[in-house]
């Protein structure tokens, strides 16, 4: 197995406040890793740093993605080379139809990779197929990106975008929160489908239920800016039982 992502000793500041403090993490090709951790421990911060959001001061550490220095790549380069972030709080883009948005994104990525763009018909065919798999009505194609979407609809639309863009490394930041029980299952199946294509994933969640469906290979506990424990699915069950206090105490 080759390595998709390798983070070594990462220290990150925001507004001169230290948030990640010596975080190391390795994701192998095709691996699905779950990250759990208390509120405010730095999970979304990690996701943003990986995706290339501005405003983070990388004080120390390295991140290798598919053998390249991820920190040297622009946000759009990362996206085009397969890094996808499903946002904890998806952003509204008024006036831009969801299908226009996804098509523009897909074709921008394809251009950046030196591939041919999809024409309108090819795109529509693909979009219809993915919407159907996720049991989404096509009505949202014409609705402005995330505008007026319910919490659950936003999360589902993120997964739709992900399956359209078929990433190499997907970071799902609490994609399960806000989804009803049925939607959770459908979304998880959507993600699992991508795993067949050797998707590597980082799934950030607070709940066991999503993990039941996704069956992650590894579970990491992030607390106070670093990974304090790594294990298999039994770790999540232990967590469920004892809470973070219990685990940190036991450490």
């Amino acid at each position: 197995m080759s390595t998709t992502l390798e983070i070594k000793d990462l220290y990150v500041e925001v507004d001169s406040k230290e948030i990640l403090k010596g975080l190391s993490l390795k994701i192998e090709h095709g691996e699905m890793a779950a990250i759990m951790g208390p509120n405010g421990s730095g999970k979304s911060t990690l996701a943003s740093v990986l995706a290339g959001k501005e405003g983070y001061n990388i004080v120390n550490g390295t991140i290798k993605y598919l053998g390249n220095d991820l920190l040297k790549m622009s946000t759009e380069e990362r996206a085009s080379s397969g890094v996808f972030l499903a946002f904890q709080y998806p952003v509204e883009i008024p006036g831009v139809a969801t299908s226009t948005f996804v098509r523009t994104a897909l074709n921008a990525q394809r251009r950046n990779r030196g591939e041919d763009e999809l024409d309108a018909m090819e795109f529509l065919k693909l979009a219809r197929q993915k919407a159907k798999e996720l049991e989404m009505s096509e009505d949202f194609f014409q609705r402005a990106v995330n505008v007026g979407f319910s919490g659950g609809e936003k999360k589902r639309a993120e997964v739709f975008q992900m399956s359209m863009l078929s990433p190499t490394l997907a970071i799902l930041d609490e994609t399960d929160s806000g989804l009803d029980i049925d939607a959770l299952k459908i979304v998880a199946e959507g993600v699992n489908k991508l795993r067949d294509n050797k998707l590597s994933g980082i799934v950030i969640t607070h709940y066991q239920r999503l993990l039941d469906y996704l069956k992650p290979d590894t579970i990491h506990i992030l607390a106070d800016g670093k990974i304090i424990k790594t294990g298999d699915k039994s770790l999540a069950l232990l967590l469920e039982e004892k809470g973070y206090q219990g685990i940190t105490g036991a450490n």
Binding site: S74, A79, F84, V91, G95, V96, V102, T104, A120
Partner: protein
Amino acid sequence: MAANTETISAVEKATKDYKYGFVTDIETEFAPKGLSEDIVKFISKKNDEPLWLLEWRLDAYRKWLKMNTEEPKWANIHFPKIDFQDAYYYAAPKSDADKPKSLDEIDPEILSTYNKLGIPIKEQEMLAGIVGSGNVAVDAVFDSVSVATTFKSKLSELGIIFCPISEAVKKHPDLVKKYLGSVVPQTDNFYAALNSAVYSDGSFVYIPEGVRCPMDLSTYFRINAAETGQFERTLIIADKGSYVSYLEGCTAPMRDENQLHAAVVELVALDDAEIKYSTVQNWYPGDENGKGGIYNFVTKRGACRGVNSKISWTQVETGSSITWKYPSVLLQGDNSIGEFYSVAISNKKQQADTGTKMIHIGKNTKSTIISKGISAGHGQQTYRGLVRMQAGADNATNFSQCDSLLIGKNCGGHTVPYIDSRNPTAEVAHEATTSKISDEQLFYVQQRGLNPEEAVALIVNGFAKEVLKKLPMEFAVEAQKLLGVSLEGSVG
């Protein structure tokens, strides 16, 4: 919607410099510098005009002289005083006297200019006269004098007149005499008076009673000779029950001297007639410091003279160093409708003071104003609108929506709505919003694979969508490209 993708690729292709910054090398025949009665006579003579028109011009010139101290000061724009004696008022391609009958006779330089402007292939084919190549007629104004007019025969079968106004003066003097200055009087404002005195040429359109013009009529304007003020004059008359859609688009070459552009456009819609006037305006905006850009002081006004008539202005304003422009509608006929849809961008040091006037005179008249102002860099943008309900405008209604979008910290967006209602049954509704492109939005879009400029273009096109969708299809694509190109360098 393919158009956003088009925008993205246009932005990608465009360089940092003004894309259309080239100067065509065609010998220009100038009138001497400066403005005097002799120059007015020279221009009139060049156009081979009848005496009544010369007198009309001279009359306007004398009125302008009296107004000379009255250059408008109220707009939120700032520029050095213009020396009106230090400019040329007439320039024409040398072929003027002997106008070409077909495209073969047209200067290849001019054709290559159209190429550089990216005039759609379809329209180029039509310019080339290829049979059955579509239905947009192009009255190409190159500098001040029309050099190519196509599709005339097709239009004339329907009795439609679409020609340079200089030609209309000769062939249809009664129509010109009746309507010229009837919507924008000579003394309407400083620049309208100047235009009336020295206008060089422009387009004339007449749609006869009951005729629906089967194609969009389109004109490309282009300032070409250095230091030549441009004074276009457009007159469009839609007779009873007729319909016409008119497109105006322009780009200008890069240069150092500030250039004055003071056009006048007059529209007249008679009973049950409709005029749709769309503009994509892209005069050279000047460099980072605003140097060298066009001063665009335009008077555009339509008169809904007949009952049930309708006039819509749709504009996409991306250029000029200074824009001063208020396309307006006089709603005279009962049940008439006026519309104004506008997207304006101010980037770098651009200043735009633009908006509309809706003057409700007839009963049950209705107006809609949708204005989308985008400011970036050190751009300053003011929406200035007047809605007036005259005493006789029973049950008149207006709806106005003015949205401003700010990109960065050094720009400004201002909204100045004037409402003047003299009729208690009239209703006026005004909404205004100001928003910013947030870092969260930019990150979200870039995370999906777009570079910062593509991301801005996409968000801006979304913001302007309500207006862009009012444009004819091909024009909308062009406009979306322009929005992207105009905002280059506004982030990062």
